[in-house]
């Protein structure tokens, strides 16, 4: 999917996907410990490490801790992740000793569906689990990333099929079906703090936990985001427009993507 093609401050064109990746990268603060999934989160995290957050600590679920890949990995189990890691541990250890106790600051998640309370579905489309319309890959590490990271960032392309009133299946909990599940469940993490899309950013309302539009990508209109959202989207009182990618960000991002070689990961 290709979005609008606005221009950066210096006139360079950039895609809405590039804006989304840059916005995700900017959400990561230096020295944060970040649990990274493959694809866009991995790209964003590695971009952040090369721009404003050189001290960012990257964990991949394959057990590579503090990895510093020179090129983007194609899968979470790439050799480049092990070769450049501070430590390589087994998969039980990465989940039990590193993720579960709440040591990780930021978890990155995507999915096929997200709903107004930040719940994510990567399991099945359709309402019959045993006989789904579409069988998706499943949970992977996501349910425990959603539960245990101090903060969760969700990154997904905006569309009414993806942004639904209620997900068909809760694979990873946001704020639950009613927006109030999190306290009840006694989770370590505080849940999704931001949903970054190609059209802008949604954030949970502090009271109701419903996702609200708080930022727009450059040249995107509120109505465009409403049309791409499957529920009646609330809009914050003040909606900022994202700073377009700087030339530096764009250059590094494109160099990074070029290291992927054949085929971007999903």
């Amino acid at each position: 999917m290709s979005g609008p093609r606005p221009e950066s401050a210096t006139g360079a064109e950039f895609s809405s996907d590039e804006m989304m990746t840059v916005a995700a990268a900017r959400s990561l603060s230096d020295e944060a410990v970040c649990f990274v999934g493959i694809g866009l989160p991995s790209t964003a995290a590695n971009l952040a490490r090369r721009t404003h957050a050189p001290g960012l600590v990257l964990l991949y679920e394959s057990g590579t801790l503090g990895t510093r890949p020179e090129r983007l990995p194609l899968s979470i189990g790439d050799g480049v992740l092990a070769e450049t890691a501070d430590a390589v541990v087994g998969v039980p250890e990465v989940f039990n000793y590193w993720l579960q106790p709440g040591r990780v600051d930021v978890g990155f998640l995507g999915g096929a569906q997200v709903d107004r309370y930040g719940n994510i579905n990567t399991t099945v489309i359709g309402d019959d689990y045993r006989s789904p319309k579409v069988r998706l890959p499943g949970a992977g590490g996501a349910p425990e990333i959603a539960a245990s990271c101090k903060e969760v960032l969700i990154v997904m392309r905006h569309s009414p099929r993806a942004f639904v009133p209620a997900v068909d299946f809760v694979t990873s909990v946001g704020y639950g079906r009613d927006g109030r599940a999190r306290d009840r469940l006694g989770l370590f993490g505080s849940g999704p703090v931001r949903v970054i899309t190609d059209l802008g950013v949604l954030e949970p309302d502090p009271e109701t936990r419903e996702l609200v539009l708080t930022r727009l990508a450059p040249k995107v209109e509120v109505e465009q985001v409403r049309a791409a959202t499957g529920w009646p989207l609330r809009v914050a009182e003040r909606v900022e427009v994202q700073q377009p990618p700087t030339e530096n960000e764009l250059g590094i991002l494109r160099d990074l993507k070029a290291t992927l070689g054949n085929g971007e990961s999903s």
Binding site: S75, G79, P92, L99, G186
Partner: protein, 273 residues
Amino acid sequence: MARILQLDTAVAELVNDGDTVALEGFTHLIPVAAGHQIIRARRRNLTLVRMTPDVIYDQMIGAGCADKLVFSWGGNPGVGSLHRFRDAIQHSWPVPLEIEEHSHAGMANRYVAGASGLPFAVLRGYAGTDLPEHTETISTVRCPFTGQELAAVAALNPDVGVIHAQRADRAGNVQLWGISGVQKEAVLASRRSLVTVEEVVERLPEQPGAVVIPGWAVTAVSEVPGGARPSYAQGYYERDNGYYQDWDAISRDRDRFLEWLETEIHGAERSPR
């Protein structure tokens, strides 16, 4: 002490119809050649266990080896969906496929419990998700000290655990390094185990980051150079990303898949990769 066997002999002896079989390897060191040999031996009604069923399980499922899959993430890493896996679940082709679905953390802890001789493991998992409703091997347990409720998962104890490693010595001591996944746990949790290796050596050299599984805890070792292709073996060969991409087209279509199966598996003593 493990026995050093030919791969076909090892599969013939260790893997029976109806067995629960786990082939592990987390992106790295996937025991592909062993999986192909299981297809070639026309094993049926297997319960296949694997955290990340990918191309090798798509092939085994499409070939009709399995009637049940226990897993936590099923996809073609870096490419997209698994079409044989989808076809089995959505259309029962070639046979119906029952599923038992977990998260990675749950599956990893199920292996840990299995390797530890415990009937279950405790974790902070599945909270607020719809998974426990559909999976009987997820339950809860209460902390006897704090009263807190936590997730519990049933131990995994496959009949056979299959992994690939870089090296073994003649006593069957296995050495692997790089991303090591749940391979050790899969071997220790299983009643019988088969380890394919790049090479059998006289003496295992020291290797930073290496995991060693003593030969007395392994049933059989088979020397199968390239046995993890198209996945990779750190220090030996790289991942063949093109194979994963090609698989997408081959596996989309039942006829093309069947042709692949006839040519590459049943028509070959050993698949080229």
